[in-house]
């Protein structure tokens, strides 16, 4: 810190056209200052992301119960995982959750965004859509857990009042994952809709005018103008929501805890159970590494094929 203040930077800026050696020096000085500014963010990245990730990868090759010392066992954890029925079950369950969650969330979000854009222009209504997102995940999960309870939940009271058979939303193997996905769709749709809504507002009005001059129908305009121009936003939304839903945990943890049987034992729940329930941190780390690789691949493929980094507007 003190070395930086020894030479006032103004001296070098006075004559920018000096020899290349001096320019190189000033660049070096810029780099130092740049590094200084990056430093605080770097601390966070290194301490909270990089080091834990590397340590996690290391632990995945060990047998580690957190209280003792990690013992190197090579790829034993990985071979065990591939033979582990519960791992494959967890992947299937997680995938089921992701598909239901993403499809409903994106479709509903686009619908809501269109409504916000064209119909509901009041700020209060727009803000109200965000309300579920402002409530903590665990609270949302508990709220629905309560409302959807088989015996005393209000939803089942209404169903039974209508003369229909009660539904064990969280208790039946068929309903549990769709229910959990539904709860999270409800919580996140407003937020996703807001992102899509921002994308809609970025589409210049004149393209719509041209379309209407050409006599394009509303459906045609939607599929040929709105959707293509929304693509970068949708790509971003898709990447974020897919990664987010692969990591579903809190809703499961506070409601079903992985049951009934293994119907909601999603991958994060299984990792948590192995690590904090059964003190098998090595195995849990290996599971996490596999999840990490899968997510990296998913994100890469999505960005590649959806061309999320370029826009059709140019």
């Amino acid at each position: 810190m003190t070395t930086l203040t020894k030479h006032p930077p103004a001296a070098t800026y006075k004559a920018p056209q000096q020899s290349s050696r001096v320019r190189g020096l000033s660049k070096l000085r810029d780099l130092r200052i740049a590094l200084l500014f990056i430093f605080p963010a770097m601390i966070g990245l290194v301490v909270f992301s990089l080091v834990p990730t590397i340590r996690g990868i290391y632990l995945s090759f060990t047998e580690y119960n957190i209280l003792g010392e990690p013992k190197w066992i090579g790829i034993d954890n990985y071979t065990a995982i591939f033979a582990d029925e519960l791992f494959w079950n967890a992947m299937a369950v997680t995938l089921q959750y992701v598909v239901i969650n993403i499809v409903f969330q994106i479709v509903i979000a686009i619908g809501l965004a269109l409504l916000m854009h064209n119909v509901a222009k009041s700020t209060i209504i727009r803000a109200a859509l965000l309300l579920p997102f402002l409530v903590a995940n665990v609270i949302v999960a508990l709220l629905w857990f309560w409302m959807l309870d088989y015996q005393i939940g209000i939803v089942n009271e209404v169903i039974s009042w209508l003369g229909l058979p009660r539904i064990a939303f969280f208790g039946s193997e068929q309903w549990a994952i769709p229910t959990i996905a539904g709860v999270n769709v409800w919580r996140h749709m407003g937020y996703t809709a807001l992102l899509v809504f921002a994308g809609l507002q970025a589409i210049p009005h004149h393209v719509y005018e041209v379309a209407s001059l050409d006599g394009a129908s509303r459906t045609r305009t939607f599929w040929s103008i709105t959707m293509p121009l929304l693509r970068p936003v949708l790509a971003l939304v898709l990447v974020v929501t897919v990664i987010g839903s692969f990591q579903v945990f809190d809703t499961v943890a506070v409601t079903t805890g992985g049951g009934p049987v293994n119907a909601t034992r999603v991958i994060q729940m299984y990792i948590y159970q192995k690590a904090f329930g059964e003190s098998d941190f090595g195995y849990a780390s290996a599971l996490s590494v596999i999840l990490f690789v899968i997510l990296a691949l998913v994100a890469f493929i999505q960005m590649k094929f959806l061309k999320g980094n370029e826009s059709d507007l140019d």
Binding site: M1, L4, T5, P9, N65, I66, L67, G68, F145, W146, L148, D149, Y150, Q151, I152, G153, P165, R166, A168, F170, G171, S172, E173, T255, T256, G258, G259, P260, V261, N262, R265, Q273, F276, G277, E278, S279, D280
Partner: protein, 445 residues
């Protein structure tokens, strides 16, 4: 630029000096204070009283009590072990302590017991020995115990024409369920008012179940089925404590579970899928079940439901002609990394003494481990108008079975919860437990 850097440097310097002074302050704080953790909020007032009395007698030691719910308790404790800041003394559970002992996280109490001449015979039989680890060392002093009984809704039982004497003298067998099943069937009522044992009973439209269902009970079935399997001569493991072979492949066990799961099929007990959510006790409180089998730690809750008069009857007698109940005991353990081992030992000894356990007894919440204090607790319950003889009978008549203490308890749970869920929900036959038993036993090889 200069100014900003200077400010940053100053801020950094202040932050550093702050953290340095914070470091310096910490050791001074721990002097004379010990941290004590427990999970049951119902017992908090009693132990606060104990702590106050203890500090009065030992003015140099203060006890800071922290209560955490069961769910967070164990993960926070594990984190504390790793970080080296676990509480000096904490309430320990039989399913957890073997792992902690194996990882050298608990302080052995043998020297203290010998030096201070602690009389282990004052506790109810068997409780003190539960806390002797596989290495022969003692890792806890008994604080309380629990057994299982039937809580029943007096109004519903009366409507069904059953007397309380009849309910207290039921018998059971795994073939036809005996008079226990007959009572459960008769107490079940469908929406049209038809009882479970009458013609025209609609098992899909049940208004009141004869027997409530909490969960499938994992591998212990403490409050769900162990009081039944215990009367068939079946035991969880080859020996207890420290068994290494489980007996879930035994026909006696599978027969019992098949009978129990059958109750849900017949409509006498809720289906497992319907029990996710509201607690079994709350469903009882809402009048949706006539009988619940539960542990003695729930007495307070079951007695407090408004509009429901709760009675307590002992569990039924089984094929061996006797009753059975799982007998679980808690103890206070000391963290191996404690900075004040002497004060911690003093506190644990006080907790395990009649002085403190009588205070706990007087609140009428749980049964303390000391025999004389247990009797005082029974009297305290009596004073509240609650007859707890259904729980104490097991201890008096020696019909208790000890909670299975083994290594790998969490891993056994990991296998047994889904397996038992599958059987109870009718997805799999009870014979599927033979295969699971092999996996469970493989954990010990």
């Amino acid at each position: 630029m200069k100014k900003t850097l200077g400010a940053v440097a100053a801020a950094a310097a202040i932050a550093m000096s702050l953290s340095l002074s914070a470091c310096a302050a910490t050791p001074a704080e721990t002097n004379g204070q010990i941290n004590y953790w427990l999970w049951d909020s119902n017992q908090l007032p009693a132990y606060q009283q104990c702590a106050a009395d203890f500090t009065k007698a030992n003015p140099d030691i203060k006890v800071k009590i922290t209560q955490r719910g069961w769910g967070d308790y164990w993960t926070t404790l594990s984190n504390g072990f790793v970080a080296g800041n676990a509480p000096d003394v904490f309430v320990n559970h039989l399913s957890k302590y073997p792992e902690y002992a194996a990882n050298d996280q608990l302080l052995s109490l043998d020297d203290a017991v010998e030096k201070d001449g602690i009389d282990l015979d004052i506790y109810n039989e068997g409780l003190a020995d539960l806390w002797v680890g596989q290495d022969g060392k003692r890792y806890g002093l008994p604080k309380d115990w629990d057994t299982v009984a039937m809580f029943y809704n007096k109004g519903l039982v009366e409507d069904a024409g059953y007397t309380e004497e009849q309910l207290g003298n039921l018998d059971w067998n795994p073939q036809d369920g005996g008079s226990y099943e007959k009572a459960i069937a008769h107490l079940t009522v469908d929406k049209s008012g038809t009882r479970g044992d009458e013609a025209g009973f609609d098992k899909n439209q049940v208004a009141v179940y004869g027997l409530g269902l909490e969960s499938s009970g994992s591998g212990q079935g403490q409050t769900q089925w162990s009081f039944l399997t215990g009367t068939t001569g079946w035991t969880h493991t080859d020996k207890n404590p420290w068994g290494t072979k489980f007996n879930y492949d035994d026909p006696k066990f599978q027969e019992t579970i098949a009978w129990w799961a059958g109750l849900a099929d017949k409509g006498y007990m809720p289906k497992l899928e319907t029990t996710v959510g509201a607690s079994v006790a709350d469903a009882f409180g809402a009048g949706k079940a006539a009988i619940n089998t539960q542990g003695s730690w729930m007495i307070g809750q079951y007695s407090s439901y408004k509009g429901i008069e709760t009675g307590i009857a002992p569990t039924p007698t089984g094929p061996d002609g006797k009753r059975a109940s799982m007998f679980n005991g808690l103890a206070d353990s000391i963290y191996a990394g404690t900075k004040s081992p002497e004060a911690s030992v003093k506190w644990v000894e006080y907790l395990a003494s009649a002085d403190c356990q009588d205070v706990v007894a007087s609140t009428g919440v749980v049964f303390p481990a000391i025999k004389s204090s247990s009797e005082k607790a029974a009297a305290a319950f009596e004073a509240k108008g609650i007859d707890v003889s259904a729980f104490t009978t097991h201890v008096e008549n020696g019909t208790t079975i000890l909670f299975p203490i083994t290594e790998n308890a969490a891993k056994v749970d990991g296998l047994m919860v889904p397996a038992m869920d599958a059987v109870l929900s009718g997805k799999k036959d009870a014979s599927s437990l033979t295969e699971v038993n092999k996996k469970v036993n493989a954990l010990f090889e």
